[in-house]
């Protein structure tokens, strides 16, 4: 059991994390104090075109090792301590933030590929250090504690974002540690997840053949990498990528009357069989400009969606939606396996291609 909440403004209106925190605090009992976290989008307007790395480390030695590595491969535009309030949580790792531009050589064509590879290298080779956030104009804040503690620890009142997601963890099959808290992030992708991914074994092997290395001991990690692979590297639309994660049953595709569409869906299912998620899950994923939710085909984990005039809200529990907005215009419960995709580009609503 875990708790999830998220909100996104339809017109990039920014706010601090207070409303989201309220929803998470209400869902406090969905976790056990062994993990909570937040991701916020639009929070670094000054360095919005730089990759913002959040480094989580056991020691200053590890941080310096990361710093040394980063200097070799990136132009460091700015480096700062991530401000914390350590009266809330005294036993914690060290945090540093780097705003970076990759030093691309001629052969490194895609900067995102370059960054992905470096993040994986740091996470697998530098002892005691993790990059827990690597997107542009966004950040992930997570650790061991309750949602309220983690919110206060990272002083999230002080950030202004147009989209926030949060997670409250009740770890059952993997250790509760700072790196294992949600959200999981790679580039702009942030995932919070309630459930257990029974397909983890094959998802992980599938990702490994594309160079992704799972280091965080938690099944949710694969979802972040899958999105990166499917959408950014394989060029799938968000809708197709979500279909890959929670595809319709064969019995449903067999009933489809539109042959062209059916063949396309069947091809998608066949090609990406190893990327399909199985097991109970409700996932909320943040990306640049949008949010989407998806649940497993039997809907063994809850997800509700609310809408007001300028916002869309997601949560595990309906009451949590009302913590974010008293005057909710509409509350709905997505069907099992039915994705909800919210995306607003600069010109207004649209689904990213």
């Amino acid at each position: 059991m875990c708790g999830i909440a998220g909100l996104i403004s339809h017109d990039y209106r920014k706010e601090n994390g207070a409303r989201l925190k309220q929803a998470m605090v209400l869902q406090n009992d969905r976790g056990n104090g062994l993990g909570a976290g937040y991701a916020a989008y639009g929070i670094f307007p000054v360095y919005k075109d730089h990759y913002a790395f959040h480094v989580m480390a056991d020691s200053t030695v590890a941080i310096e090792e990361v710093s040394h590595f980063l200097k070799e491969y990136f132009w460091i535009a700015h480096r700062e301590e991530i401000s914390i309030w350590d009266k809330v949580i005294t036993d914690h790792p060290l945090f540093q933030r780097f705003f970076l531009q990759p030093k691309l050589s001629a052969s490194d064509i895609d900067p995102d590929d370059f960054v992905t590879e470096k993040v994986i290298r740091i996470n697998t080779s530098i002892d005691g250090a993790f990059i827990c956030s690597s997107g542009k104009n966004m950040g992930v804040f997570k650790g061991v504690g309750t949602p309220k503690d983690i919110y206060e620890f990272f002083r999230l009142d002080e950030y202004q974002g147009y989209c926030w997601i949060g997670h409250n963890r009740f770890p059952t099959n993997t250790p509760g540690w700072w790196g294992g808290a949600h959200p999981f992030n790679l580039l702009g992708w942030s995932i919070v997840h309630n459930g257990e991914i029974s397909s983890y074994g094959i998802n992980r092997r599938y990702l490994e053949s594309y160079g992704y290395v799972c280091t965080l001991q938690t099944d949710t990690e694969v979802a972040a990498y899958l999105l990166d692979l499917l959408i950014r590297r394989h060029g799938l639309s968000i809708r197709d990528a979500v279909t890959v994660l929670a595809p319709p049953y064969w019995s449903s595709t067999n009933r489809m009357t539109d042959v062209t569409e059916r063949n396309r869906l069947v091809a998608l299912k066949i090609i990406y069989e190893s990327a399909m998620l199985n097991g109970p899950f409700a996932i909320l994923a943040g990306f640049d400009g949008g949010l989407f939710s998806i649940t497993d085909n039997t809907k063994l984990r809850p997800m509700v969606v609310g809408a007001s005039e300028n916002y869309t809200y997601f949560a595990s529990e309906v009451s949590a939606l009302y913590e974010m907005e008293e005057n909710m215009a509409e509350v709905s419960t997505p069907r099992a396996g039915q994705p909800v995709i919210v995306y607003y580009d600069a010109e207004g609503k649209g689904e990213p291609s």
Binding site: Y200, W250, S251, I270, N278
Partner: protein, 502 residues
């Protein structure tokens, strides 16, 4: 062979309950090895075992209308010895009498580890609910063949689908040729393949005209003897299989003696009546990988790119061989393990050559993934799959599908007497003598085979459900579902699984 020399007695014999026996003589008719004689005894005739030929086929036992027969073990008692067991002594006796290669059927019987038995499944508890297959969909549909790596590579989804073979459940019938088995058994398999949307393999004996209606569910074999391969043959079928090797006898060929080449077989194999059908050990136009590539593409060109499967025996360097085969254009790699069955193989080869399928599968799947060519070919494994748990363990190790031969024979009455090559199969399976092949009723056999598949399918769904997985695709290659017991670190690392408790 004279009956009075060492090595001539059988290890089993029927015993008769003479209180139940009414002397009808059915047992003597059923026994094709002349083990049973009816002899006068007082005022009735009674069956007597001659203790020379019983192979424990159980035909007499099951066909006895009064259930008056039991088969008992009657081993040659030899003085216990750590090296010379009675079976070694017996075989040496036999060969001293015959002067020939000892032939056998069925799969290897040595006491090497069976890794399936040292692997256990996970199950859901508390945090990830299991799914009840009685209540929720539990799907096993599998597409076999070459798949695109990414959707963007697919110009026309329909064209990719045309080149794939869907099966409702990932169990196919292993190649057993018309000649090694009879047409009735092939008809039964073909019918079940069509009924359940599975696949059957012809083996090397060609495709009999009666089976043309089932060609869309058949993989037609092109082997070293090229039997039955005609322009027409290369248009029929759902796909093709180039046979390089067989698990029970890697590196050697086959021989169907002339006396077994009867009319239907001669016509289907396109060879003269009663001529020996010899399949050379290698394919004489394939001396290396580039030759295989030529044959793969020759077959594809002949039939508008239906999938081509290459069957190899699991041997030491299997991962590299499989990788080469995929790069040569094969759409399916069929791995036949050390314990694979056969109609006839030298005992010494069957029991001493090749490697277990579990290890072969584990290394091939891993190698193809490491080389990023796993999507280019399906892996089909065979060789000692005994039940649905074996099937699911194979799938979790990375197989796309498994092939079963021996279980099909068993479904039709086989008790494993291992005398397939004798031509006297009492159950009418591995024989083409008309009076014996007539013992196999096609309807009965089809029902039994179909039942076996359905039963296994139910059990497979249970195993998926108790792991909380509703689509077999998430089971395939998911080695975290498996844990090993009684395995050392090397074995675990080759299998790519953790030890129980980890």
């Amino acid at each position: 062979m004279k009956t009075s020399q060492p090595g001539s007695r059988s290890t089993y014999r029927p015993v008769f309950d003479l209180d139940l026996c009414d002397g009808c003589g059915q047992c003597a008719v059923e026994c094709t090895f002349n083990e049973i004689k009816m002899v006068p005894h007082g005022n009735k005739t009674i069956p007597v075992a001659n203790r020379l030929a019983c192979g424990a086929c159980h035909r007499c036992d099951i066909m006895c209308p009064r259930q008056a027969i039991r088969i008992v073990e009657d081993p040659l008692v030899t003085r216990p010895h750590g090296v010379w067991s009675s079976s070694h002594i017996q075989r040496a006796h036999l060969q001293a009498a015959s002067g020939s290669v000892a032939l056998t059927g069925f799969g290897a019987e040595t006491a090497l580890p069976i890794f399936w038995d040292k692997i256990l499944f996970n199950a859901c508890q508390v945090t990830n609910p299991s799914i009840d297959p009685q209540r929720e969909p539990m799907e096993t549909i599998t597409y076999l063949g070459r798949k695109a790596e990414r959707l963007g590579d697919v110009v026309e989804p329909q064209e990719m689908l045309r080149r794939l073979i869907p099966v409702n459940t990932p169990i196919v019938f292993a190649p057993m040729s018309y000649g090694s088995i009879n047409l009735n058994l092939q008809k039964a398999m073909a019918r079940v393949a069509k009924e359940l949307n599975l696949l059957w393999y012809t083996g090397e004996g060609g495709l009999h005209k009666d089976l043309y209606p089932y060609a869309d569910w058949a993989i037609l074999q092109v082997a070293s003897g090229r039997f039955g391969v005609s322009p027409e043959y290369l248009k029929l079928g759902r796909g093709y299989q180039i046979k390089i090797g067989q698990g029970a006898k890697p590196g050697i060929g086959g021989h169907l003696p002339g006396e077994k080449v009867l009319e239907g077989i001669s016509e289907t194999r396109m060879i003269p009546l009663h001529s020996d059908a010899i399949s050379p050990a290698p394919q004489h136009d394939i001396y290396s990988i580039e030759d295989l590539r030529l044959l793969i593409y020759a077959i594809k060109e002949a039939n508008n790119y239906k999938p081509v499967c290459v069957k190899i025996a699991a041997v030491h360097n299997i991962a590299a061989i499989a990788s080469g085969i995929v790069r040569a254009g094969a759409d399916m790699v069929y791995l036949d393990g050390y314990r694979g069955g056969t109609g006839a193989a030298p005992n010494i080869v069957r029991d001493n050559v090749g490697i277990p399928i579990e290890l072969a599968l584990a290394v091939v799947d891993q190698r193809l993934r490491e080389e990023k060519i796993r999507s280019q070919a399906s892996i089909i494994v065979a060789g000692g799959i005994r039940n649905s748990a074996d099937v699911m363990k194979a799938i979790a190790l990375g197989a796309d599908a498994v092939a079963i031969g021996t279980p099909v024979l068993i479904a039709c009455g086989c008790h494993g007497c291992q005398r397939c090559s004798s031509g006297k199969c009492p159950w009418g399976l591995t024989t083409n003598e008309p009076q014996l092949s007539g013992r196999l009723d096609v309807d009965w056999a089809a029902e039994r085979i179909s039942n076996l598949i359905k039963a296994w399918h139910h059990e497979m769904q249970e195993i998926m459900g108790l792991n909380g997985i509703y689509d077999l695709g998430s089971f395939r290659g998911n080695r975290l579902i498996l844990r090993g017991v009684d395995l050392d670190e090397k074995e675990l690392s080759i299998l790519g699984i953790k030890y129980a408790g980890e």
